[in-house]
Amino acid sequence: MVTALMELKSLRKAYGETLVELGSENKNIVVLDADVSSSTQTKMFAQKFPNRFFNSGIAEQDMITTAAGLASQGKIPFVSTFAMFATGRTYDQIRNSICYSKFNVKIVATHGGVTVGEDGASHQALEDIALMRNLPNMTVIVPADYNECRQAIKYAVENERPMYIRIPRINLPDIFDNSYKFTLTAKVVEKGDDISIISNGDTLIESIKAGQMLKQKGISAQIIHCPVVKPIDKNILKLISNCKNKMLFTVENHSIVGGLGSAISELITDEGLGLKLVRIGVNDQFGQSGTAEELLDYYGISAIKISEKVIYEMKTTIL
């Protein structure tokens, strides 16, 4: 499944290209952006289908509720801006005008997490998945590479309900090939039988690399990709039961409050499993300026920091 190509590809470009392709087939697709269409790559759609592209300007609340109105009449609106402004500023609009009504709006937010980099804390959404995950009727997807991002956008068009798709600013290597088919399920991307590491988005590749580092230290880590934070795939429990150690790790480019780690934590608690879960992510803090690499490292979600954390926990935790 995992291809080891290290050429880096833009998930935002995947989004823009796929929108154009799907927009040619489906005239109900309309796209809204809030003055960042060059960054989100919705400008590709804007150039091809100017009549179906609506730039809301710097007015995210208006963008979200306009999309709700469009969806109420059978359109399929894709709504994009940075994850921070797509969810934080518009939470009430998403809750009351999209999720409550079950309108078929796709919020595709770019620039999730600390890998936004130099713009700093104001632009680094670390709470967006938590905000979207608590909304009834919402599906939350965090793709991990170019091919998966393309497939997730197709999935969004084919399935009529509100969705939040979070894509990173940084470019990423291919993990899946172009035969990959997106589903709501979690998947093992690297086999291992000591411990499990569950991740998604731009920390999946860091987790895979951490697994390779751990292997050199004699630890066999199973790497699980969980692209859908809501609805969470219960089958993940079966996957983690393959490992000998009663310890598992989640890794996310998001606050450890309310995101993937919390979703997995709820799952294992509900099932009454006596497992130790270590949530690796931004530890209830704000981000700061720096390069993506520096910030991944500082907040403990780079490959080396993940592997160090795993080793430390395995050494110090008595189960």
Partner: protein
């Protein structure tokens, strides 16, 4: 009394009985928009209660969702559902939720209740109609206090930018909000000029005069710009002790108050 005035009186009676029966609701802002809703549903809007999703229908958005009792009363009057159902208003299991939702009633286009969102949704509907070359119009009934939400002004800009001349906002300008007079809380004065400066066509009417409202709506349909109709109204209109009284924004009348009110209305 002419037929339309009789309908208005009946809707006022329904509003009070519904809110009394529910022991909760919003009489003030419901009573203020009775003539607006009657003009719309009896004179202006194209619709078919038997086919609430017909392509030809004019779309209506109750942005001031708390006026739901008035909205449900006119919908029942138009035959969307039996009048007896009005007494389920705000009760567990009812389709007549505290604030209207498309999930419960087919004829409701979009959910409202959280203020400041209706006009943007109406813009979305108007854009969709234009994309489909559908000649129907979109009417959005807003509260005046609601205009304190900045998102309304984002929507005014949006409608101008997209030339949404198929969009008509009607503002129920009753000049009161929960905590007092709009002008003492956050000023809306010079409202006509404010909205005109957003390049909208603005018409001011007596919001309790059905023919003025109707004529303004018909004129608005011919406009080459989006139109706002400022309907000057009295909150609590029709019940002397509720009129222009902030205390009746969100309070149900008790038995005695209901019978007093009904006596005034049924004269």
């Amino acid at each position: 009394m002419n037929e339309l005035m009789q309908i208005c009186m009946q809707i006022r009676i329904d509003i009070l009985k519904m809110i009394h029966n529910a022991k909760s609701g919003h009489p003030g802002g419901s009573l203020s928009c009775v003539e607006i809703l009657t003009a719309l549903y009896k004179q202006v809007l194209k619709f078919d209660p038997k086919n609430p999703k017909s392509e030809e229908r004019d779309r209506f958005v109750l942005s001031k969702g708390h006026a739901s009792s008035a909205y449900y009363a006119i919908l029942a009057e138009c035959g969307y559902f039996p009048k007896e159902e009005l007494m389920t208003f705000r009760k567990f299991g009812s389709r007549l939720q505290g604030h209207p939702s498309n999930l419960y009633l087919d004829c409701v286009e979009v959910p409202t209740g959280s203020l400041g969102q209706g006009l943007s949704m109406a813009c979305g509907i108007a854009i969709s109609l234009k994309l489909d070359k559908n000649p129907a119009s979109v009417f959005c009934l807003m509260g005046d206090g609601e205009l304190q939400e900045g998102s309304c002004w984002e929507a005014f800009m949006n409608a101008d930018t997209r030339n949404l001349n198929n969009l008509i906002a009607i503002i129920d300008r009753n000049k009161l909000q929960i905590d007092g007079k709009t002008e003492n809380i956050k000023k809306l004065d010079n409202l006509k000029q404010k909205i005109e400066s957003f390049n909208w066509n603005v018409i001011e009417v007596d919001g309790h005069d059905i023919s003025q409202i109707t004529n303004a709506c018909l004129k608005a349909k011919e406009s080459d710009k989006p139109t706002a109709i400022i309907a000057n109204t009295i909150k609590g209109k029709g019940v002397s002790f509720m009129e222009d009284n902030t205390g009746w924004h969100g309070k149900a009348p008790n038995d005695e108050e209901l019978s007093l009110a009904l006596k005034e209305l049924e004269v």
